[in-house]
Symmetry: C2
Subunit: 408 residues, 2 copies
């Protein structure tokens, strides 16, 4: 008998009707002979409703109490889903994060899972129950309620699948799988049947919103086969697993993009050792994550130093740089928030030379200026002016034949 963990997000459980539809789907998997564990999020809108309540009382509410507050969202869903499963004549039992001891550290609002006590779950599965567990939440060693941060239900599901040694972790969402790129930008974008953990990780960290990075990392670490499917339509979705031989044919899997970044440049700094550290040290101290970095020496031993950060952090970063500008002997600090990042992802890149040059040639043919470039073993990212974003994505999708079904 297979153990399947299914995770349903907020839009899949937004009202009674949708919850009943989820119950039907869960029941089908159970009746097909699987042992089924279900992880659910709060009903869509509920988390924001609770946060709004908190904001009317305090501008900076305690993170411990925010977690107590938000954890009620999933608790409501697990109870309602069990009732819907009972209506279908199925045995089902609900558990909060505390009840199955999803032990986390005590970093309220962004806790990390340390362990799960799977004994209760296994006992109930063996008694033919469907086990319904609140996602997004856990408990620290002192019994305080913690939450994993937005999207944490994906992580809960993968962690449970790992603890239970499940055969598959199915993430039900409002899209029917992972696409070669966003179909709203490129209509001929194609749903991928398979993708590797590594590729999915690069896609997610480059802007694809389908799955949370932490959930993919977790799945890769424990080799939990992950499947993304639609809660609303039938279909096989996209399976995310370890690299397989038949995947090597595809050089490029997909194109991810994001407009969430901003670029900062410090002009005219003395080209001396230690400059990068002097600039990025204070930035890191302020908990600002830096993505791409370029340092180009110019004439007369002066250099320009450019890096990108999340657009949300732009104001704080600018403030820090203004403070250290004189100390660095820099000329000026400029920024650009009208940028977009486009990333080409594929494990096949490892064994194929010339991907980068093919990419740059295609962009040059369209007269698109590349502002920054960064590469990893299975990814090439470029920063371009935001207004070219759609053009770049479409051009690359076409250049690398991603719509071609035979690639899959």
């Amino acid at each position: 008998m297979s153990i399947i963990v299914q995770k349903y997000g907020g839009t899949s459980v937004v009202d009674a009707e949708r919850i009943q539809a989820v119950a039907t789907r869960v029941g089908a998997s159970k009746n097909a002979g699987n042992q089924v564990v279900v992880v659910v999020s709060a009903m869509s809108g509920e988390t924001n409703r609770l946060l709004d309540l908190a904001k009317t009382i305090s501008k900076r509410p305690s993170r411990r109490e925010i977690d107590v507050l938000l954890a009620t969202g999933e608790q409501v869903t697990i109870a309602l889903l069990c009732m819907a499963l009972h209506q279908l004549g199925l045995k089902a039992i609900s558990y909060t994060g505390s009840q199955v001891k999803i032990l986390t550290d005590n970093a309220h609002s962004k806790a990390r899972i340390l362990s799960i006590d799977e004994s209760k779950i296994i006992r109930d599965l063996d008694k033919d129950h469907i086990v319904v567990i609140a996602g997004f939440q856990g408990v620290d060693e002192h019994g305080n309620i913690t939450t994993l941060g937005r999207g944490g239900s994906d992580t809960s599901a993968v962690a449970l699948a790992a603890a239970l040694n499940a055969d598959e972790c199915q993430i039900y969402t409002d899209v029917d799988g992972v696409y070669t790129t966003d179909p709203r930008v490129v209509p001929e974008a194609r749903r991928m049947a398979h993708i590797t953990f590594e590729e999915m990780l690069e896609m997610a960290s480059s802007g694809s919103k389908v799955l949370q990075i932490r959930a993919v990392e977790f799945a890769g670490k424990y080799n939990v086969p992950l499947r993304v499917l639609s809660s609303f339509e039938q279909g096989d979705g996209t399976l995310i697993s370890l690299e397989e031989n038949n995947m090597e044919d595809a050089v490029i899997s997909g194109i991810a993009f994001t407009k969430d970044e901003a670029q900062l440049t410090i002009r005219g700094i003395p080209d001396e050792p230690g400059i990068a550290y002097k600039i990025l040290g204070p930035i890191a101290d302020a908990d600002i994550e830096v993505d791409m970095i370029v340092q180009n020496a110019s004439q007369e031993s002066y250099a320009n130093f450019t890096f990108t950060i999340s657009r949300n952090d732009l104001d704080s970063a600018k403030e820090i740089l203004q403070k250290i500008k004189d100390e660095l002997g820099a000329e000026e600090v400029v920024h650009n928030s009208n940028i977009a990042k486009v990333s080409l992802v594929g494990v096949g890149m490892r064994s194929h030379a010339g991907i980068a040059s093919k990419m740059f040639a295609a962009l040059a043919a369209e007269n698109i200026n590349i502002l920054m470039i960064s590469t990893s073993e299975i990814k090439i990212s470029v920063i371009v002016d935001e207004k070219y974003l759609e053009l770049v994505v479409r051009t690359l999708h076409h250049t690398f034949d991603l719509a071609d079904e035979s690639q899959n």
Copy 2:
């Protein structure tokens, strides 16, 4: 330093503004030098909202899952109240029923408290924290979430006060104390400064809605001084405690009444031993509680058997009696739901004869027919036609001089 347990009901925490007002009141008690534990209910309306959600999914939802669902109501309130206390610069920490191990039996939706682990609470009080605890909920020995039933937050507060050996348990509500009778019926009704546990218990079980019976029983059993106050106005409210000498002056403390009952009569049954059991056995088996019972033998060894029950149970009780009517050899079953029960309560009755005759004389003078009578050591109850209710209450209030301030 005194330990005070304060309990605020749903209307006292219905929105952010009210929660802030509660925080101010709690803070005042803390700043006056007390160690304060606060027990809160769900925001008014929230429990019904959750029950409605459940009903859209299932007509007979599992009681275990209903408890999981409803327990979120108080969890929201404890988090919000802590945020409001923090805003006032006070240290505060919230706990669910599970977190402070309010251990109950496993009778979901009407669980009884078995014990409380007070260690965490005492540790936090000693660290100068206000401890905010979710009322109405607990946890069974297997870690399942339980609830105590409607109004259970009063019981939570009293149980916590008993466990902490608190100096006073203050129940904040939307009335400013316990009155000699309902001021909507008798405008000159007077707030009592003191009342005994026994009297309060009789008042509550006779229809006074101010406090839950179980909470008063609990307080009496553990001798926890209980005070009923208004959350909206200043004032000393009513203190409920053990009998004191100065209380003996008052013969009658108050008048309670209810229209929640219905009367059932089985006519023409053979007047034989065991008849009462044959009738009330099946009623008890159906979990229907019987209040007053009268059996009057009539001529020719046939008797009439009359009893009262909660009006909600009338249909089920009628059904049961129809089934056993022939077996009993009874003539017919009749019912009357247009009745009201009025009860005169007072510990002074014990030492004063003639209260009953004074009461009956007053009603006779008004030409009011008494349908049934029942007495206890400190209470006399009569059943009258519902249309006379207000007249009976006003007459008795006047007859026993309850508006007289010197009684207090």
